[in-house]
Symmetry: C2
Subunit: 227 residues, 2 copies
DNA sequence: TTCATACTTCGACCGTAACCGAAGCATCTT
DNA sequence: AAGATGCTTCGGTTACGGTCGAAGTATGAA
């Protein structure tokens, strides 16, 4: 009845298990077809189709049709950020969906969180940046220092080109598996892209896991020593 | 089925209109009784009681009983921040619940957003800080400058005492009525408290509106000139 | 054209949860 | 002690939305 944004509308969109599963699957950052999302959610394609149209209608998902396929992605970075926030909050309240059996250790070690690196390696990277003064941390507000810019330059990452006024350069994102923060933002995205492009790691086909090569892992660990 | 935070659980909590209304009411930052919340949500006390226990169970609300009253508040700043995020996202998608009749212009001018100032005056304040170099803005990441610390010191606000590692000093928060950002974080909280304590403004009894006195408004406007 | 694949729409079923009336506790007042 | 107020619990109704089978549309392949 009151004035204001319609929280309930978007809360409801996130509030269904099937839809939540689809969105979690899309946190991998890559576009998925309706059938793939149906499988991820554990429902039939008809049901999935209904859910997907609701999510699109609500501005959370975007669709692009290609031939007879329909690829769905998160609508934009804002949708991804909100998802991350909700995941972080849920994790902070202990609302985890534990599968006590054989968990996937690769997922806890390193995975994709929309477009950046999460998991053990994700928090390790941020911790390392903060420890050596490349990034300054004030609460969960992160700022890049001059030293940091220089260091990333030697890695071949041009920080200046990453600054945008639509999305922050550095952003902390609460990691559900580690209960600590890892690095998001355009820099987080660029770093993950860097690892993948230079062959340090590759994405798993089935899950959001990031699989490091032996050589890539050695480089990563020496670049980001544990605190 | 998959591993991960239970998004659906908390999405569902935000996804009911009655609960959403209660949470919106609690964005005022002050504790409300079960009966008041029932009225705000437009349901009976029995129904409200059920909703409130679910929200408390989910870690979104906290309760403290005082005599025969039960006061409810948002559990912590994290809950408030998540609410703000969802409101901002909903507003960015145009999901507003318009009451086309007599809107409340006071609410659009200045209102409380959990614990800081929002509305026209809220974004004006942040814009002004950024324009004069007291705060630097990188995307929606905000950083306080030395000039800013000095200026706030003359106002009687000790910035050093506001730094915490649980909550950022400056944080941007998307304003649904203005579609721009205003200042949140511990500094945003301190500034609102400053206005209220020094009699520049007072809170409305019925709504989240912040009502400036003629004198307070003059001081505010000269302190934060429009861009 | 004919068949196969990818997806949507329709219709019906069904379970969950939102809702309220009534009754039950707890706390304060007189 | 008796009454009033604030809130919760119980029980029963109802409606909304998630679900799938079946049929319909669009695109690609043979």
């Amino acid at each position: 009845m009151k004035e204001g944004p319609d929280i309930a509308r978007i809360g409801m969109l996130f509030g269904d298990p099937a839809r939540a599963n689809m969105l979690t699957a899309l946190m991998g950052g890559q576009a998925l077809t309706a059938t793939e999302l149906a499988q991820a959610a554990g429902v039939t394609v008809q049901t999935a189709s209904s859910h997907l149209s609701k999510l699109e209608e609500g501005g959370i998902l975007a669709q692009r049709k290609q031939g007879r396929h329909r690829y769905f992605t998160l609508a934009d970075a804002a949708a991804g950020t909100l998802l991350e926030n909700i995941m972080g909050f849920a994790a902070s309240r202990g609302h985890l969906r534990h599968r006590p059996g054989p968990k996937d250790p690769a997922l806890r070690k390193a995975r994709v969180c929309y477009d950046h690196l999460a998991g053990d390696y994700g928090v390790r990277m941020l911790d390392s940046f903060v420890a050596r003064g490349a990034i300054e941390s004030d609460g969960d507000n992160l700022t890049m220092t001059e030293d940091g810019r220089a260091e990333l330059g030697t890695l071949g990452i041009d920080v200046a080109s990453l600054t945008s006024n639509r999305r922050p350069l550095c952003k902390s994102c609460l990691d559900w598996s580690e209960r600590r923060s890892h690095l998001a933002g355009t820099l987080g995205k660029a770093l993950l892209a860097h690892f993948l492009e230079n062959g340090w790691a590759r994405r798993s086909d089935e899950s959001r896991a990031v699989l490091f090569t032996p050589d890539g892992e050695r480089k990563f660990l020496s670049l980001f020593p544990a605190g």
